[in-house]
């Protein structure tokens, strides 16, 4: 039973929570691979260039101020705290590397998941399954290096909503919201589908609050299906590309419309 986790950031609450959850049910990952994403300072320069100083500071503050009602992270932390207390999970608020240390899981930082050395590492470990918590594009060579495949939890209904901000598009166009667990292939969100789990649409008047609800469902799905896949192959559903569309980052003006629709739906 050899499986690993791949993430794209050293501070990834989803990855940390997944490790904690899997360890609590007796499935300790064999290793965790973290891909170096774009250097933080380069990202900061991009932001400053695009939005100016004041707007950059405001954007960072809004995103990471966990005490603010406006902050996405604030909602995510609230939801995950409730989830962790329900299952008595520990260390999930720590950075991925620290969580790995606490559970004695080998942690490796790699330049790219698609590099030859990483592929060699995955093959050498005879990895059966990889669980993906990041947003990187994975090449076919890396996918082929894993025996049973790479699992990903996509935050929208597949095959209808592929790509970026798929959850928001799913919500905006009025289909049931939820998470789809699927295998990764060389395309974008078009690998075979294992299951779609709905997220109840109740009393969540903002997009951020609804997005926060995705995290525990992601963790639950991974933890539930991993043992079943390791024991034997599960039936999969074909992810027919023609049934859906690929979406891209949602423009703020459409997000505002979505927010208004959500507010109106609760009146």
């Amino acid at each position: 039973m050899i499986f690993g986790i791949i993430c794209s950031s050293k501070i990834d609450l989803y990855a940390s929570m997944l490790i904690a959850k899997l360890c609590s049910i007796g499935y300790k990952p064999s290793y965790v691979l973290c891909q170096n994403t774009k250097k933080d300072w380069r990202l900061l320069i991009d932001y400053l260039n695009e939005f100016g100083f004041a707007n950059t500071i405001r954007a960072i503050f809004n995103r990471y101020n966990v005490y603010s009602e406006k902050s996405t992270m604030g909602h995510v932390l609230k939801v995950l705290t409730e989830y962790a207390s329900q299952y008595d999970l520990k260390y999930w608020r720590l950075p991925v590397q620290k969580v790995c240390q606490r559970y004695s899981i080998p942690y490796k930082r790699v330049e790219s998941l698609n590099s030859e050395s990483t592929i060699g590492f995955i093959k050498a470990k005879q990895t059966q399954i990889l669980l993906n918590t990041g947003r990187m594009l994975i090449k076919v060579e890396t996918i082929n290096a894993v025996q049973k495949g790479i699992l990903n939890a996509h935050s929208a209904m597949l095959p209808h909503y592929r790509g970026y901000n798929a959850f928001e598009w799913n919500l905006f166009l009025g289909d049931p919201i939820g998470v789809t667990l699927h295998y990764v292939n060389e395309g974008i969100d078009d690998g075979d589908i294992l299951v779609f789990r709905k997220i109840p649409f109740t009393k969540a008047a903002t997009i951020d609050r609804l997005i926060a609800k995705i995290y525990p469902v992601n963790v639950d799905l991974m933890a539930e299906y991993l043992p079943r896949i390791l024991c034997g192959d599960l039936p999969v559903q074909n992810n027919d590309k023609n049934l859906g569309k690929q979406y891209y980052a949602m423009h703020p003006k459409i997000k505002v419309l979505l927010q208004r629709n959500l507010l109106n739906s609760h009146k």
Partner: protein
């Protein structure tokens, strides 16, 4: 200048476009003001093609800039409480008729087609007989040459548009027949050779995106004139090409939450970018096509991309100094990191930018009223 349209402006609440402190309607008004200044600079001989600090002032007027501004003034003059834009468009129509010395002075088919389209709009609003006479004369000229001259696809699409406008006004089925014949030639050529190889190429063998978007926009206008049963092939061609352009644009992303990189000026045969420079006219035309396609297909991805590409264009609009010749104008090209292009403003780019802005405003209003 007042645009009397009731539009509830949507505030920007996210990171993608918070730097722009002017709302869309203010931008539209500044565009119209700039176009009026370009008209004044034409000194009764049409609309100046633009202002350049390097050239040392306003450029000469030409048929392309004059005819496109006529349509814009007519379109937005209907919302203008003072009717001043209608008066301006009529005087521009006169300059098309008289300053160019009548039909014989306009030599190129493409210019005749532009004149027909502009004068048709004027005739529909003002019903002046001399406009209709000129249109019919230009139309005959085009029809005489239609078989003998081998025009490129983008010119042919404009000719089809002009012939169908002529058919709409006169009801003469000969114009429609000729137009449809030419249209069929274009569609067969596109099916046979694919779209990009069929368009005019520069010396490097690359297609200028302005040629491509201009071609698609002409086809779009043609499809709106044709009856529903006759336009399926054209609509399919427009949708397929627009989807490819959408994918190309959205794939040019930088960091998350930032706008995609500017749309390229040149494309190779595989629909890949081969230029760092962006063409503002092509971007604005693309924004119009996408906004219209959203209305037609109800596919929000098109509206989304249209809003993004307009955000990109907003960065280029000159709104820093309230100088008459610069304020509100749009440059022809955009290049990241280089700012001197802002001092070279184009009437056509400003005109299309205005149309793109208004298309997305109407599209967003449509969503609000329907949801």
């Amino acid at each position: 200048m007042k645009i009397n349209v009731t539009v509830e402006e949507i505030p920007d609440d996210s990171t993608m476009s918070t730097t722009y402190s002017f709302d869309d309607l203010t931008r539209a008004r500044t565009c119209i003001q700039w176009l009026c200044n370009a008209h004044n600079a034409g000194k009764g001989l049409g609309v100046s093609d633009g202002f350049s600090v390097f050239r040392g002032g306003w450029g000469q007027s030409n048929i392309r800039s004059t005819s496109s501004v006529i349509e814009t003034f007519l379109k937005y003059g209907k919302f203008d409480v003072y009717d001043s834009l209608i008066v301006r468009s009529e005087s521009l129509g006169d300059s098309l008729l008289y300053w160019y010395g009548g039909p014989l002075r306009i030599q190129r088919d493409i210019d005749k087609a532009r004149a027909i389209i502009a004068l048709s709009s004027l005739y529909e609003t003002l019903e002046r007989k001399d406009f209709l006479n000129a249109i019919v004369t230009y139309g005959k000229d085009i029809e005489q040459n239609i078989v003998s001259r081998k025009n490129s696809f983008e010119v042919s699409a404009l000719l089809v548009h002009s012939l169908l406008e002529l058919y709409k006004l006169t009801g003469d089925k000969q114009h429609k027949k000729q137009g449809k014949f030419l249209l069929e030639t274009i569609l067969i050529g596109c099916r046979k050779n694919c779209l990009l190889p069929s368009l005019t190429r520069n010396s490097n063998g690359a297609v200028n995106t302005q040629v491509l978007t201009g071609f698609l926009l002409s086809l779009f206008k043609v499809s709106s004139i044709l009856e529903k049963a006759e336009r399926d092939d054209i609509t399919q061609l427009i949708v397929d090409s627009s989807e490819r352009l959408l994918k190309l644009y959205e794939s040019r992303k930088r960091a998350p939450y930032l706008l995609p990189r500017p749309f390229p000026r040149l494309l190779n045969n595989e629909w890949r970018s081969i230029s760092d420079v962006s063409d503002c006219i092509a971007c604005a035309q693309l924004a119009i096509i996408w906004a219209e396609l959203f209305v037609l297909q109800d596919d929000y991805r098109f509206l989304n991309a249209s809003l993004k590409i307009i955000d990109q264009l907003k960065k280029s609009q000159f709104l820093r100094l309230k100088l008459k010749c610069l304020y509100g104008g749009m440059p022809e090209v955009y290049q990241t990191g280089i700012s001197c292009y802002r001092l070279n403003l184009s009437t056509i780019a400003t005109n299309y930018f205005l149309e793109a802005l208004m298309s997305t405003i109407y599209a967003l209003n449509g969503i609000r009223s329907s949801k």
